[in-house]
């Protein structure tokens, strides 16, 4: 019996560990915002966690809009070649 080699992400617990680390880092970055003064060029930048929220919201919006876009623009794979 030739056991295929096991890889890192083949174990679900590894995935979970990576995700945990990632979530902690996120929280950390958000927290840092409180402790330092950024030199800003625009008032919006001064809002707490502006970049974090903007990034999150932007990406969710992006995906959700894109899903709607699919309804509009998605056609069969042979759309063009079938003339």
């Amino acid at each position: 019996m030739n056991q295929p080699p096991q890889h890192f992400f083949d174990k679900p617990e590894n995935t979970t560990k990576v995700l945990w680390i990632f979530h902690v880092l996120c929280v950390g970055l958000l927290v840092i915002d409180v402790f330092y003064h950024r030199h800003t060029m625009h008032a919006w930048e001064d809002l707490w966690g502006f970049y974090a929220f903007y990034g999150f919201v932007a990406c969710v919006m992006l995906v959700l809009v894109a899903k709607q876009l699919r309804k509009l623009v998605m056609v069969g794979e042979r759309y063009y070649s079938d003339g």
């Binding site: 990406c59 899903k67 623009v73 003339g83």
Partner: protein, 562 residues
């Protein structure tokens, strides 16, 4: 003037490549960019060439900061692309690649419109062969469409140049501006090559159909020459700011739902060019520096991403996200390098994209375009989302598609290593790049504000991705075609033409039948009236002839009397 024109070695080399075979050819292929590079290093600003041709004063070579920077960049790109394609046994691709790189060099060193036009069109033709060489029906069709649009850009450049000569009396390629109709035409010509919105589909249509190695060449030159040309001819043109902003935003929606990973890269390429276009539109020293620097970096990291996807395609024969996954197991090194490229394009601190993109963002805010700035920020988040995460995730991780292969050939790996190393090197030590920029750089990318803000943006974008993925809100990868502006010329126009011709065939044949019928009737009528049996012609009875004579005499007499 003891040096050759910057493009000469490439073009001459391309002529001899078909005659050289085997191992020697690989050596020659490597030597060409190296020799040419040595030649270009020696060039000094102001080493211009002048030539009187057909009573026109041409400047086939014009050397200044801007052209030199792109000259170095293109040598680098050419070297990487050549290394990446060393294993290929296809003379067409080798020759086309060299001619393409050479003509891109020619275009950026061109000091007049005729020279620019010549290389502009040479690029178009030679690059098409990199697509056609895929030798599939889809690639052939896409290549022809590509060529058509590139030639459209070329003829618009020609028309614009001609008008400009009439307007200004000079052929010199300096600042143009969109104030005159000739300038506007040239602007649009550049815009097509630059993949302006609605004129962008040639890129997303053709690049994914190119050969794995061809796409690497393609991603390096055409659009960058266009960026160079915009930076030379139209810096500070306000329209470019908004065009750039649109270019950064709309492709990422398509990138999210696109399945073909090289097409995802093509969309992300438009997105990156959008940043450069925006920077050129701002037109300040910082903005133009940023745009040019970003072009430099884009060649490297987009090349790296293209190469990694090319490697995947080369090894597995597949490129759709829906068919890939889990490749990190068999291609770990490729996966790692791909992540380097992804980090660079996403502008992670310490990677090359960070040091150039932030220049543009700052310049946008400095010049008071907060709306545009928000759009760019949105695009930055988006680019991480689709290029930074989607590409490596669906290719190398995600659900294991069961593909078992190995690392690509060494030359491919080497090319990727070079590109990856440069991405990191520039990310860590950007000053060398800054030295080369056309304007003096007083900008420091690495301060806490920039780094933390960027990290926040990127991490929360990633968070959004994980959240969406875990809640299954993320759209699955589906085999499909997504309609874009190309729908007009790939569907509507052909259908219309087909419809018209289908309708006109019976019409035309009815018409020609009708004409033929009419001719026949005419012939018969003529025959009836003038043929041997007609009244006028057939042999008359003598009596009747006499009657005629009498009648005519009467007529004459009447005529004379009256």
């Amino acid at each position: 003037m003891d040096s050759l024109p910057p493009y000469a070695i490439f073009l001459i080399g391309a002529l001899f490549i078909p005659a050289i075979g085997g191992r020697l050819r690989r050596v020659a292929l490597l030597l060409i960019p190296l020799l040419s590079g040595a030649n270009v290093i020696n060039l000094e600003q102001g080493d211009d060439w002048q030539l009187l041709f057909l009573d026109y004063e041409l400047i086939p070579v014009r050397v200044d900061e801007l052209s030199l920077l792109f000259g170095y960049l293109f040598h680098l790109a050419a070297l990487i692309a050549v290394i990446f394609s060393l294993h290929v046994r296809d003379t067409t691709q080798h020759v086309a690649g060299l001619v393409y790189a050479g003509s891109a060099l020619g275009a950026v060193f061109a000091g007049d419109f005729i020279t620019l036009f010549i290389f502009w069109e040479l690029m178009a033709v030679s690059s098409a062969f990199l697509i056609l060489s895929r030798r599939t029906d889809r690639a052939t069709a896409a290549g022809l469409r590509y060529l058509l649009i590139q030639v459209l850009s070329g003829v618009m450049l020609l028309a614009g140049a001609v008008m400009r000569v009439q307007e200004t009396g000079t052929l010199a390629f300096e600042f143009i501006g969109i104030g005159s109709s000739g300038g506007l035409l040239i602007f649009l010509a550049f815009g097509i090559k630059c993949a302006f919105p609605l004129a962008h589909n040639w890129l997303t249509d053709a690049y994914p159909e190119a050969t794995p190695t061809g796409a690497v060449f393609l991603s390096a030159f055409t659009t960058k020459v266009a960026v160079y040309a915009l930076a030379r001819g139209f810096p500070g043109t306000e329209a470019l700011i908004y065009i750039g902003a649109v270019m950064t935003c709309f492709p990422i929606f398509y990138a999210v739902i696109e399945n073909d990973l090289r097409r995802v890269l093509a969309y992300s390429m438009i997105n990156q060019i959008g940043f450069m276009v925006c920077g050129i539109g701002i037109g300040t020293a910082l903005a133009v520096n940023g745009a040019v620097a970003h072009a430099f970096n884009d060649v490297l990291f987009k090349g790296l991403l293209m190469m990694s996807m090319g490697a995947v395609l080369h090894m597995t024969g597949r490129i759709n996200g829906s068919e890939l996954g889990g490749l990190y197991k068999s291609m770990p090194m490729t996966a790692g390098l791909c992540i380097v490229g992804a980090a660079s394009i996403s502008a992670f601190p310490l990677f090359s994209g960070f040091v150039s993109k932030s220049m543009i963002m700052v310049a946008v805010l400095q010049e008071g375009h907060p709306g545009v700035w928000l759009a760019l920020l949105f695009a930055s988040a988006g680019v991480f989302h689709h290029a930074g995460i989607k590409i490596p995730f669906f290719a190398f991780f995600a659900h294991d598609a069961g593909l078992r292969t190995s690392e690509p050939p060494n030359n491919m790996l080497l090319a990727m290593w070079i590109a990856g190393a440069l991405c990191v090197f520039i990310g860590i030590y950007p000053w060398m790049l800054y030295e080369l920029l056309p304007f003096e750089v007083v900008y420091t990318p690495y301060d806490a504000t920039h780094v933390i803000a960027q990290l926040q943006l990127l991490f929360f974008s990633a968070l959004a991705f994980t959240w969406l993925k875990l809640t299954n809100l993320y759209p699955p990868e589906l085999r499909s075609v997504n309609l874009d502006a190309e729908w007009i010329y790939r569907k509507v126009l052909p259908d219309a033409v087909r419809g018209i011709s289908r309708a006109s065939v019976p019409l035309a044949s009815a018409l020609s039948d009708g004409v033929r019928g009419q001719m026949l009737v005419l012939g018969q009528t003529m025959y009836r009236h003038f043929g041997p049996q007609s009244t006028l012609v057939r042999t008359w009875l003598s009596a009747r002839m006499v009657l005629w004579v009498a009648g005519l005499l009467g007529f004459y007499l009447f005529f004379y009397y009256s």
